[in-house]
Amino acid sequence: MSRAQLEGYSEKPPKKHRIAIFILIIFLILVSLFLYFAFFKENGFRGITGFFIGGLNDENAVFIKAELNPPDDFKTSEKIKRIELDIDSSKDFLVGKQKIDLSKFNSANIIIDNFNGELSLEEDSIKSLKGKASNVFINNIPISSQSGGNMKVSFDNSFRYKFLKLEKVFIPSLVFKTSGKLTIGNNKAIINLEDENFEIEKFEGDITFEKNKFLMNGLVDKSKLPELLDITDSEKS
């Protein structure tokens, strides 16, 4: 062993390289996770829960159209591409730091783009709507944030709505007792529900609440549909 090695100065310890590789690996894992959750979510994966549940892919998806009686309550914390709602009650609508008094308008048509937050409904009322959005329009007038980025949107308390449409929303699962008509795969199968359980998983599409009607238009995971068909057929026979 050389004198230099004995003094412990001239030889670079391999430990340093191991630390550098370790730091780089952690960094790459973090970047991959960020990108994974950001971009796979758009294609059907839904955060950490969605990761374990699995997303909706085209091979497994079938088109459905439903016109049903609305559920008593409905809740989602998933991203919604656009929320459109019509209200005629006087409410304070909070957009960013602005408080907009909707009583100025006879009836207000509100559009919220790229909503990310919580929406819960109870019968014909919005119990809570709280989150962030990229754009907000009230009667076609844009409400912009001062920073130009996303802005907080919320209502101070629950209120009744006349019309509510959720565009491009993902629903991991939905179960409720209802009546109405369900069309699967462009009229390939039509099911009439009469106070029966309606159960779907991984729906992605548009949902409209209008005049005591619950309209669904979009893709749903095939795997749950046979159960729905079986239950309906057996109950009918």
Binding site: S2, R3, A4, E7, Y9, S10, I23, L24, I26, F27, L30, V31, L33, F34, L35, F37, A38, F39, K41, E42, G47, I48, K79, N114, N116, K132, A133, S134, G149, N150
Partner: protein, 153 residues
């Protein structure tokens, strides 16, 4: 020797350059930019990953500062001193007249950012002290040579 140590005066005290930790700072910056990008475009952010990213950033910044703080090189009137260690303190005191050669080693990247390693050879064969990743290594060599000449005179 005891008298020499008592009479010793500090001429230069230098720590490792922050430029050496530039890759870590770049990684932290990339993570911050990714978070800003995801927020700006309203893309999904997993907050558990954000927490881990912040831990990585804090450990990255604090860790490099701690690493720098607990290792320094000092040129005194008679000695070249290297002190290192967080809990244990390892101090090497090299009597300047025993220095035979001073070699500057810089990679392209180090030359570009004006930092590098100085290999201080002693008359004893194979005894080399590496002054690692210091800013302005040429200035460090000048000061050390100056001390070497003055003690030699």
């Amino acid at each position: 020797m005891k008298k020499r140590i008592q009479d010793d005066k500090n001429i230069l005290k230098i720590r490792g350059s922050r430029k050496h930790y530039l890759p870590i700072y770049v990684m932290i910056l990339i993570l911050i930019l990714i978070i800003i990008f995801l927020r700006f475009y309203n893309l999904n952010i997993n907050y558990l990953v954000v927490i881990f990213a912040f831990i990585f950033m804090i450990v990255g910044i604090k860790g490099t500062e701690i690493h720098r703080f607990f290792s320094y090189y000092q040129i005194t009137t008679h000695y070249l001193v290297h002190s290192r260690g967080i809990l244990n303190n390892d101090v090497k005191r090299i009597f300047i007249p025993t220095i035979s050669d001073i070699v500057l080693k810089q990679t392209f990247w180090q030359r570009l950012l004006n930092y590098g390693n100085v290999m201080v050879h002693r008359y004893t064969p194979g005894a080399i002290i590496e002054v690692k990743n210091i800013n302005n290594p040429e200035k460090f060599i000048d000061i050390l040579e100056d001390r070497l000449n003055k003690i030699g005179d």
